[in-house]
């Protein structure tokens, strides 16, 4: 029982980390109708900026305080992500207003390759460290209930809390603010939104900025966990089944989807893996998402789209 609980909790916490990346997909799709294939590349780019500036700033300023260095690096990384967002709007998206979804998807695929390449050219392709003081050692809980207790990874637990906070903030932003409502209007119909005076270019810059900050938070957490290197961009692939399952237009869906995928893949690997040779967690997540799609093509919380012809 204790082991089952450990696996379950481990899955839930991994799921929250997937949700963090999935949020980037949801944000951009919700606000612009674009399936942003570059989300993984943005996570890598943001994490590289954070890691490298937190290394460079103490050298430039001759300081030793890690907290201040991290804070400054975070601020610079935010600015970098804003510049990236602005450039994406100016150089790519501006020319694609009212184009087919597939065209926009392909554009983001191109953006992903450009970001991957530029990121590694500017910041390097080695492994870099982000040290934001996350605890690495495990903690044992419920030792009086279960023999040996239940192992909790403190780092994952804190990361899950940060992800939860981010989700709450974003939900409020989308539901309660005028900008959030404008973002949703743009997603529904570019032309209609423009006709009532919503400035499309500014809205797109805003949404890519918000997605950039989400990517930065995801990059810091994943980078602190895995080290900052190219593989960070592949974690977007782990978030894809999450958005398929949770729905592309729902922030809470990204969370619930993440939790289901996280738990599903861990339980499947631990309990089914040994019977089929192991290594099944990646495809199992996609299979789980596909099964959901059979019954709810729009995902668990996605909006049902009805086109009249």
């Amino acid at each position: 029982m204790a082991f089952f609980l450990e696996t379950l909790l481990g899955g839930l916490m991994s799921g929250m980390l997937y949700s963090l990346v999935a949020l980037g997909f949801v944000l951009i799709f919700k606000a612009s109708g674009v399936f942003n294939f570059a989300q993984g590349a943005m996570v890598l780019f943001a994490a590289l900026a954070m890691a490298r500036f937190s290394e460079w700033i103490p050298d430039w300023l001759g300081m030793e305080n890690l907290f201040v260095a991290n804070l400054l690096a975070f601020a610079v990384a935010v600015v970098v992500m804003f510049v990236v967002a602005w450039l994406i709007e100016r150089l790519a998206l501006r020319y694609l207003v009212n184009q087919e979804g597939a065209t926009l998807l392909m554009a983001t695929l191109g953006i992903a390759y450009v970001l991957d390449g530029i990121g590694q050219t500017i910041f390097g392709s080695d492994i870099y460290k982000i040290d934001v003081g996350m605890p690495k050692d495990p903690v044992m809980m419920l030792e009086s209930v279960f023999e040996g207790g239940i192992l909790i990874n403190k780092e994952d637990f804190i990361a899950a809390l940060i992800a939860a906070l981010l989700v709450i903030s974003l939900s409020i932003f989308f539901q309660k603010t005028a900008t959030g409502r404008a973002l949703r209007a743009v997603a529904d119909d570019h032309q209609a939104a423009q006709s009532i005076g919503i400035p499309l270019d500014r809205i797109w810059v805003i949404v890519w900025c918000v997605a950039g900050i989400t990517a930065l938070v995801a990059g810091i957490i994943w980078g602190s966990k895995l080290g900052v290197q190219f593989s960070l961009s592949t974690i977007a692939l782990r978030a894809l089944p999450v958005v398929i399952l949770g729905g592309l237009t729902s922030v809470p869906g990204a969370i619930i989807g993440g939790l289901i995928i996280g738990v599903g893949e861990k339980l499947s690997e631990v309990y089914l893996g040994p019977y089929v040779g192991g290594g099944i967690e990646i495809w199992f997540a996609y299979m789980l998402a596909l099964v959901f799609l059979l019954f709810r093509p729009q995902g668990l919380f996605g909006e049902k789209i009805i086109d009249r012809v």
């Binding site: 082991f3 899955g11 392709s125 870099y128 050692d137 192992l151 782990r238």
Partner: protein
Amino acid sequence: MKLRKLAAAASLVAIGLSGALTTPAFAAEEQFFPLLVYRTGAYAPNGVPWANGFLDYLKLTNARGGVNGVKMIWEECETGYATDRGVECYERLKGKHGGGTAVQPLSTGITFALTEKAPVDKIPVITAGYGRSESQNGAVFGWNFPLVGTYWMGADVLVQHIAKKEGGFDKLKGKKVALVYHDSPYGKEPIALLQERAKMHGFDLSLLPVAHPGVEQKATWLQIRQNKPDYVFLWGWGVMNSTALKEAQATGYPREKMYGVWWAGAEPDVKDVGDGAKGYNALAMQHGAEPDSKVVKEILEKLHAKGQGTGPKEEVGQVLYMRGLISSMLQVEAVRVAQGRYGKGKRITGEQMRWGLENLDLDQKALDGMGLGGVMRPVKTSCLDHMGSAWARIHTWDGKKWNFTSDWYQGDEKVLRPMVMLASAKYAEEKKIKPRTPEDCKK
């Protein structure tokens, strides 16, 4: 008309003169090597130092005057550790500059793909410390050279080491060993040997695959926490290694009981983990980090001090840099051996290179002369033995650097040879290959 003829004649003379000025009277011979590397992508942190070490040794060879005056030339192609791109690179480069002399793909997947192409193109495939373990048998795998180490040999040494720690092979009975491996041809290579050893000594072997690139291993380490193996063997590459160490820390598995293969025992695998990797052990494919070796000092002096080195100076002498350097040295020495038979100072062909690789004899004196004394042991290949040396040792990360923590071990021929012969015979049967005989080798 006369003026036009005069101008044409003057132009021809000018062209002829410029040619005479730019081309030496006796053009130096050049030996071309296609370089399949990966400097981008998920495995770049490990691929880059290997490639830099490889290149620096070629540059050093040229700085030393080449091989009997023959200069080494090369062209890089980025594979990204992807088999399809690796094959594409090979096809693109193999015919350039008069033809490739040998190729080193640094990927077991690409090696598998090139194994059938090599005999057709007559270009040896050198896989120092990787590739197919049964390709040690030169009778069947005439063009593959897993020089200095195969995965079966490495896995055998690991079992010998834990047996020594436990007090003998008989003490392994009932022990639990988990193999956490990259779910790829590379990661699967040691399984056959470990299963054989498990059968011989009665230890329990559990196999835990990790999907590429290896960033998600929580479920794997939860299983390790549940099964509590006595030892974990790590057969990872790239980010998979550091992730495994971080998960081991997060699940409280002692790093002292973890043993990585030589591709899981370099600076990029541990530097990001720091103290969390303290006590972690890995195979050293003869060499470890060798910043004090003579060859490293020579490279720093002749290349990096003049701004001609490849990559950062700090990397020179690190584990993967040395692996690349040694891989490069082995092929340069094979060129030298081949020239000894086919003509000193002459460019050799791929077929002649194979002869050179099959007749390598790097004794201690030769190693000392190259500045590699203390870095590696002598290597002696033959037509039938394409590995040439089966020695390895263990090094351990102390939080700052790798230190050797064991004596030398030699792969046990009594275990390895029958496996190599059986697997290669099966391959020969499948591919309808007529194994070479000792007589064939004399040709």
